[in-house]
């Protein structure tokens, strides 16, 4: 029983991390119909920002996530202004290819500037910390990321559903021309949405160096899992992405422990194939 609870807890905590990464992707996808292939690289950039703030200025990831989130917010907003803006209204493939190109640029820029070496922050505030309830280990870094995930996703959901800004974002997502006729500055909304989507990823990336090594390829698998989550949750549905992330985390943990660790990503991507086949709009999509 203890083992089951431990595995469930591990799955939920992993799911919360995935939720933080995937929510931004879902937001961008839902509002703008843009598949952001550079999402994993935003995570990587955030991890580097957090790492360098820690390495050079001794700022712990517990605080440097703010810098990482702001940096990636600006990076994502610029992505819209300099790249995505020119693909709006054109074939969906053009935005997809543009962000794929951006992911290559970001990855290779990191390779060129920081080399492919793994970088690890030692002695972080959260690193290796845990508390015990009986035999159940509760790892502090993951718990903190989980709390951030709940707060960020909750705030984003509240923002979209309960504020005038959120209504403007929804209106823009539903009908850009009509929103403009109502006086909504859709250009500004798009920039903000891209920035917010990136910032969610930036927060996750800013906290991750507490226990995960930083390198130019680190975002790739996170990016793929985020796509699975968004497809599973329903395109553009923030609660959908949140619940789907928890499901994926649990699937990964249960299949990894009760079948075989090497099987866990097979199960995750297997679910994606099943969902795409039988419910392409996702479990919570409309």
């Amino acid at each position: 029983m203890t083992l089951f609870v431990q595995v469930t807890l591990d799955g939920l905590l992993t799911g919360l991390l995935y939720a933080l990464v995937a929510t931004g992707l879902s937001l961008i996808w839902g509002v703008m119909d843009v598949i952001n292939f550079a999402h994993g690289e935003y995570l990587m950039v955030a991890m580097y920002v957090s790492y360098w703030l820690g390495f050079l200025m001794n700022i712990d990831p517990l605080f440097s996530w703010i810098g990482a989130a702001v940096f990636v917010f600006i990076l994502a907003a610029l992505t819209y202004k300099l790249i995505i803006k020119f693909t709006v209204g054109k074939s969906a493939l053009s935005a997809l290819l543009a962000t794929f190109g951006l992911s290559m640029v970001l990855k290779n820029t990191a390779l060129y500037n920081f080399s492919p070496n793994f970088r690890l922050l030692s002695d972080t505030i959260l690193g290796g910390k845990r508390f015990l309830i009986g035999d159940i280990v509760i790892p502090l870094p993951q718990v903190v990321i989980g709390i951030f995930a709940v707060v960020v996703v909750g705030t984003l959901f509240w923002l979209i559903k309960r504020t005038r800004l959120g209504w403007a974002i929804q209106a823009t997502a539903l009908n850009k021309q009509a929103a403009e006729l109502m006086g909504i500055n859709t250009e500004w909304i798009y920039t903000l949405v891209f920035g917010l989507g990136g910032a969610c990823c930036g927060i996750a990336g800013g906290l991750l160096p507490s226990y995960l090594a930083v390198h130019p390829e680190v975002g790739s698998l996170f990016s793929l899992i985020a796509f699975v989550i968004v497809a599973l949750g329903g395109f553009g549905s923030i609660p959908g992405a949140f619940l789907a992330a928890l499901m994926i985390g649990l699937v990964e943990a249960y299949s990894g422990f009760y079948i075989a660790p090497v099987f866990k990503y097979v199960a995750v991507f297997g679910i994606y194939i099943v969902v795409v086949m039988f419910r392409p709009r996702g479990l919570f999509g409309w």
């Binding site: 083992l3 431990q6 595995v7 591990d10 992993t14 390779l111 080399s115 492919p116 070496n117 793994f118 970088r119 690890l120 030692s122 002695d123 690193g127 290796g128 845990r130 015990l132 280990v137 790892p139 870094p141 993951q142 226990y211 995960l212 090594a213 390198h215 130019p216 390829e217 680190v218 790739s220 698998l221 996170f222 899992i225 990964e252 943990a253 299949s255 990894g256 422990f257 075989a260 660790p261 090497v262 866990k264 990503y265």
Partner: protein
Amino acid sequence: MRKFLAIAVVAALVLGALGGVAAAQDKVIKLGTLYPLTGPCATAGQRCKAAVMTAVEVINNAHPDLDVPLAAQEGVMDGYKFELVHADTQGKPNVGKSEAERLFNQEGVWAILGSYNSAVTKPASFVAERKGKIFMCGCSSSAALTERNFKHFFRIAPTDKTESHEFVTFMDWVNEKYDADIETVGLIYENTEFGKHAAEEGKAAADEAGYEVVADVAFSPGATTMDSEVQSLKAADPDVVFGACLGGDYTLWVRTMKKMNWLPKMSLNYCTGYQDPMIAKQLGDDGNYFMGGTGYSPQFADLMPAVAAVEEIYKEITEPSVPFDSDSIKEAAAMFVLAQAIEKAGELDHDKVAKTLHSNTWEAPLTLSGEVAFVPGGQNELAMSYLTQLQGGDYKIIYPPEVANAELVYPMVPWEER
């Protein structure tokens, strides 16, 4: 007539000069290097590349102060110099294979050195064998590589089979000397050619020696978490873990064990992240008390006196400047052995050089045994490593006892007591 003579003399000089250039160009032996310069094992790949560059620098130019083969002269075969063409495998077998083909077909290299990951070395060396060209492998450790009976494949490193036997012999010794009561073994390994073969050999050696294998955990390299992997080990709670995890996976494994508050009594690692001094340094105290087979570390200086001077050149090439590690030094040793064989064969016929490699014992001061000799299939039968334990960030030799420079810390110090 005078004008004609002048033109003839100038023409002769020009032709002579061109001929000289042509002759100089002909005296080049192009070699390909095939390492993971990007991707999850890039740190190790970059160092392996720098190690071959170091060896070529020593061989191509006169370094009479160095006590390694061919250092005193310039090049081989009376003036032939080596030129390296580097290729990146990204740690992927398909990329390694196509890059091997490109190196031979388009770059026209004479032989290839590489390629760190056993999974890459396997198909890449198949390309070389099919072409009848030499593939010189420094540190890939899968025993399967030298069990194919290839004629042109040579490997300097000990295999996972050798290391697995070393591990169980060591465990017997620990049981005897420390009354350690080691009975069970767990395996954790990346799901690749290297990891799977290491695990197979580890399991076979443990079974043969009477240890029970209670956990067999394969994982996908580059995983986002290793919770399930460590949880599976923790549930089985083996006394000793045999690990085959590279680069970032190794750091995640160690940190996840800390997170889960679990350690085996002893952790023995194949040529993995454990052997990377940079990773050991970054892990800090968390990296201590892990163990593994080690072919070189700066703490071995007294045992391998010729290394220090060569290492100075290596340190200038690497960025950031680092000493040799257990893997990279084998790639340098491989280059020195290949160059000696070409020198001794006296020609560039691949079959002749391969035959020469097989039929001689080579001076190899950059290896622990000091010599290299190949058996059919290309395995260096003199390959050896020592078992080390990271203590205070240093690789201390623990076994065999006659060369040990530190006492074993057993069991590993629990996380909360560090």
